[in-house]
Symmetry: C2
Subunit: 352 residues, 2 copies
């Protein structure tokens, strides 16, 4: 009778009790209260074996799937985590997103992606949007948000940030050693005998870009070479920028036998510029990149580059978030940089 005589409208009932099975239906089928079903679902309290069995059977039989929307409202947890990235189609961040997705998925969480387009204002908007959607936590992949904005956000939500070292409660940061990576890349060129090494710099608005330039200079200095500003040309981290930067270098008639690009995308642009000028890689000019994008393995020639573990970064960030959500304190850190030797570098032609 209880069900039959429901006095008011019920969307589900009105269309013939079709529609998704609800927890109440499970409770009724199992002959227990909704509270008990909920407890079993959430492992919130111990429940007698017979009730548990009855409920589990009812769930299986009815094909019940809890409604995350209702759970979110009632329990305050949506089992979703926001991810602010720069662009969903970035060859670098895309891989990181996959790492996040895979890790979250295994734990029953869903990612909610939002793209900041390399722009602090939009990134802030992403965070607002994600909070409005009541995500349980937010992962911020790099980006240009001020540290203070991040700290502030962490006051109401667990936050994990990559690309900077930041200490704050409720906030975990993960950083790749860009300095060391760049130093390694430059050192490799030096060891091969190169002395005139051009540097295609990234976008100076990114801390990464600055760190990589520092690494380049440190390696030079360690080898007793002096830094020559005429050999560095900014390429904004993209292909066109790398192409233009290299054109500029070539037109300036600076001599160089090797070139270190602060990311693979610029290396690809540089490669094309050299080609346009009839220069061979690595015979005439050696190239080292940074990131080790999937595509770099098949570029022409396959690119020597600093491996940045994007997928692992995504995984680690997601794992850290999961731990925070569990009340644990994450302690992970990024693996150290590692140079991947391929075919774009060799000793300079001895024409000195």
């Amino acid at each position: 009778m209880a069900t039959a005589s429901r006095p008011t409208r019920s969307r589900a009932t009105s269309r013939g009790s079709t529609g998704p099975v609800t927890l109440d239906q499970v409770a009724q089928a199992a002959g227990v209260s909704p509270s008990t079903v909920s407890r079993i679902l959430n492992g919130t309290a111990s429940v007698s074996d017979d009730k548990r069995q009855a409920v589990e059977q009812a769930i299986a039989q009815l094909g019940f799937v809890p409604n995350p929307v209702a759970r979110g409202l009632a329990g305050g947890r949506t089992l979703s985590v926001g991810v602010v990235t720069q662009a969903i189609d970035s060859p670098f961040y895309g891989v990181a997103l996959r790492g996040v997705e895979d890790t979250l998925d295994q734990a029953g969480y869903s990612p909610l992606f939002a793209s900041g387009h390399w722009n602090a204002v939009e990134e802030a908007r992403c965070i607002e949007l994600l909070r409005a959607r009541r995500v349980d936590g937010i992962i911020v992949l790099d980006g240009r948000l001020a540290d203070s904005a991040l700290r502030n956000c962490a006051r109401s939500l667990p936050l994990v940030v990559t690309g900077r070292k930041l200490k704050a409660t409720n906030l975990f940061s993960l950083q790749f050693d860009n300095f060391e990576g760049a130093r390694l890349a430059t050192e490799h060129l030096l060891e091969q005998g190169h002395r005139r090494i051009a540097f295609i710099a990234g976008d100076a608005a990114h801390p990464d870009a600055l760190e990589r330039e520092r690494g380049y200079r440190a390696a030079l200095e360690a080898a007793g070479l002096s830094f020559d500003a005429a050999l560095v040309s900014p390429g904004l981290f993209h292909e066109e920028g790398g192409l233009a930067a290299t054109e500029r270098l070539l037109e300036s008639r600076q001599r160089f036998t090797a070139l270190f690009a602060a990311n693979d995308q610029m290396a690809v642009g540089a490669r094309l510029a050299l080609h346009r000028h009839g220069l061979q890689v690595p015979q005439d000019v050696s190239i080292v990149g940074f990131d080790d994008l999937l595509a770099s393995r098949h570029s022409l020639p396959p690119l020597t580059t600093v491996h940045q573990p994007a997928y692992e970064m995504g995984q680690l960030a997601a794992q850290a978030m999961l731990q925070m959500l569990n009340g644990e304190r994450p302690i992970a850190s990024m693996p150290p940089p590692r140079l991947v030797l391929r075919e774009s570098t060799q000793a300079p032609a001895s024409r000195a």
Copy 2:
């Protein structure tokens, strides 16, 4: 008094009435009922100007943002749409996802991405997951789900599918003319004088792959050339596959002066294989790809390829979804294929 004497627990109240502003608070501040606030928010009914003003002011003053989770539960709409894609980091689909994201975002909807990994079983899981999350509709980008599964899904949710022609109520499909694209690519090679044109085929489990092969054959036949199975080698749509397929072709000692790869990723692999065998592009072998990935513009040499408008595809799919959600019937269709001429093709060396 009403607020102060609330008899029961209230999470928000207990932490000092902090936390997000609720609709009730807005109603109270504006001196109207919650119903009225809701109506204004949703444009559900006409409301007198003075009340509207009072409410709008209260909203602005309190910085109220409606809780989508509550909206979802109460109204049955979550303002989110599920997107099942193959891999979040695919160079092709990534761009399509950006098109979806941009379009949805403008309309106040959020995308929920789920990756099927080129696998019908996982795609089905994605759909389940998205339905469990109560998305308002689902966009399926290509994939291997059976038509029947899709039709079935459309019975409970608006669905837009790309990569196939499918008629069903509540379902809109969008298809690129793969046949014509492949025909165009092959025709171009033919016009340049090539007669022995190898074909790196895609994964035969994808309808796209079959269509592209059909286009290749059709162009050959139109030119009076007979199809030679020894000249086709499957490459599974990825770089490694393209590389291996080309190696096989080369080892089989089949002669060919041009090569058409059923996607750009395989073209890149093919390019590398040719390089390993000391063959120049386009001097020794011309290459045409398919897709026109962002990267293809900067490959060595820049790749001649069939432009497939991934971003527009994402946009169109999202727009169609938005229209269905509005009760309209979408009528969009994909732009026709277009060949982008770059530097990887030229007339064969006259050594016949």
